[in-house]
Subunit: 319 residues, 2 copies
């Protein structure tokens, strides 16, 4: 239901962008931030923001708003405890990175039934309210969880918010999301940090650096706390893909040391990148939310590259 | 002397871009390519190109043109032998990647005295004449070698060509160039290949890939033969920086496995990238080409980030 108000907790880059994008889509939206700076800035930009958590949660409870957790992972458990006390009936989602640990926190506090995890795969190297942008999510994949516990009505609310923000919805199980995120987000961060560090030790390296280095280290400009938080929170999934990358690089090292060709790594990397460039994103249109096996059906479609570009039919609803 | 004609051997991405940029700067330029396709395309675009190597070298000898080697490294020795036979007095430069091996080839054929190595640090993932662009070098660093053997007059010719193409000249010794290139170009390619390969094996990874993965694998789209050629030709310099990156990643792996913070790698990577972003590029203006110690002075200035943005004074010349 697209007239459901949206309550954003945390007005940094992602939360602030959700607030702007939801407002731009005509949604009623209000929010909270712990620090007064972001609240002042958001208010000055014409948004309804407060640093009073109980006030914002009471308003959410009164309007049955969709609550969007956009705080750093370490702040989640305290925030969830307040939601349980003040707004336990509200539908709930999040926009943080790693999903499995969020699901565990939500389960621990007893709110799992109303929760559907989310992850917009967008960002910049900047942070804070001022870095936010109503267009940040346009065309970006926004994962909406299809774990076994997920309620069809809450799922639809969360998917609608993502679509309203201009994103395409990728349905995925939390564990599969975390393995993929380790590969396409956390591993690139670690490689970028290693590349930047290595170059910082070689005279003349910065003097000659061009596109390969700039692109390869772009995400090393991300705030260190954010990088650490997302990699450490997803360590179980990062380890196997980091090991795989290390093995590939060690094989390349041996080939170079022995004067053998680098064919294997270079060919497989090129082939994978070419496959990625031509990876098709078929629209998911046929699944009925709430019908038998709808979660498994969506998880399989997402795995195959499928995305949701406009609202899916819902069981027993007129549309 | 900016009225020296330019003879480009090899009309791929780099050679073709040099031809276009030199012509756009008002230079007389003619060129050679082994395959008729590039010659036909260049001719159709209004350029003076031929697939007859003896013809183009005779023309270079007759006009004392600056010869620019823009062929793949494996083709160099055969090309150099023909230059020695037909145009041994011509000033000579190259625009290939790794410098030390080119210097050895040129020395072996007896042309070292007329040779000053070059390397424009620009490129795209595309190749061939059609991918060329007169603007490719605008603002890019273009290394011009200041090895001990380098002749001031030839050096000035090569630096002038780079400046005419819109590049900034970075003076560097060939061995230092190769170590830096290993770090900021070849290592990023290997990391990109490993990242792309790893992601290609994880279900859902391509479906969720966004900016971190796109940027981190961009150079994996480069033609595999080019990647192999530049990494293998520079293996001696790639090995130590690859080992350094592997060590950093292994330490991060241990930290993750033991539940320790990733502080060390993430902080050092971030700090290096921030330093790179604020790396200043002071203009080198005071060195007199041909004066005592001019090569060492330029090498030191280049190491410190200095670049040449307009022609330097030359000893015993009126300017």
């Amino acid at each position: 239901m697209r007239n459901t108000p949206v309550c954003v907790l945390g007005l940094g880059l992602i939360g602030g962008s959700v607030m702007r994008a939801a407002a731009a889509a005509g949604r009623e939206v209000f929010g909270y931030n712990r620090s007064v700076e972001a609240v002042t800035a958001a208010t000055a930009d014409g948004f309804d923001a407060t640093e009073n958590l109980d006030e914002v949660l009471s308003a959410a409870a009164a309007s049955n708003a969709l609550i969007v957790l956009a705080v750093p992972v370490p702040a989640l458990s305290q925030m969830l405890a307040r939601i349980r006390d003040v707004a336990p009936q509200c539908p709930l989602t999040d926009v943080t990175s790693v999903k499995s640990c969020v699901v565990e926190e939500v389960r621990a506090v007893g709110l799992l039934e109303r929760f559907v995890g989310g992850h917009p795969m967008a960002g910049t190297a900047h942070s804070g309210w001022v870095a936010g942008d109503a267009q940040l999510f346009v065309g970006a994949p926004w994962v909406v969880s299809v774990d076994d516990h997920v309620d069809p009505a809450v799922w639809t609310l969360v998917a609608d918010l993502a679509l309203d923000c201009g994103a395409v919805v990728v349905p995925a199980r939390s564990d599969e999301h975390d393995a993929a995120a380790a590969t396409i987000s956390h591993l690139p961060h670690l490689l970028a940090e290693a590349l930047a560090t290595t170059a910082g030790e070689v005279p003349l390296a910065f003097a000659l650096a061009a596109g390969s280095f700039r692109d390869g280290t772009r995400v090393a400009a991300t705030a260190p706390d954010l990088v650490r938080a997302m990699c450490e929170a997803n360590a179980d999934q990062v380890l196997p893909v980091l090991d795989r990358a290390l093995d590939l690089l060690k094989l390349a090292r041996e080939a170079l040391a022995e004067g053998n060709p680098l064919t294997e790594l270079v060919d497989s990397g090129h082939a994978a990148r070419v496959r990625y460039d031509s990876f098709s994103r078929p629209a998911i249109v046929a699944t009925v939310i709430g019908a038998d096996n709808w979660r498994d059906e969506l998880a399989a479609a997402g795995r195959a590259g499928g995305v949701i570009r406009s609202a899916l039919p819902v069981l027993d609803s007129p549309g």
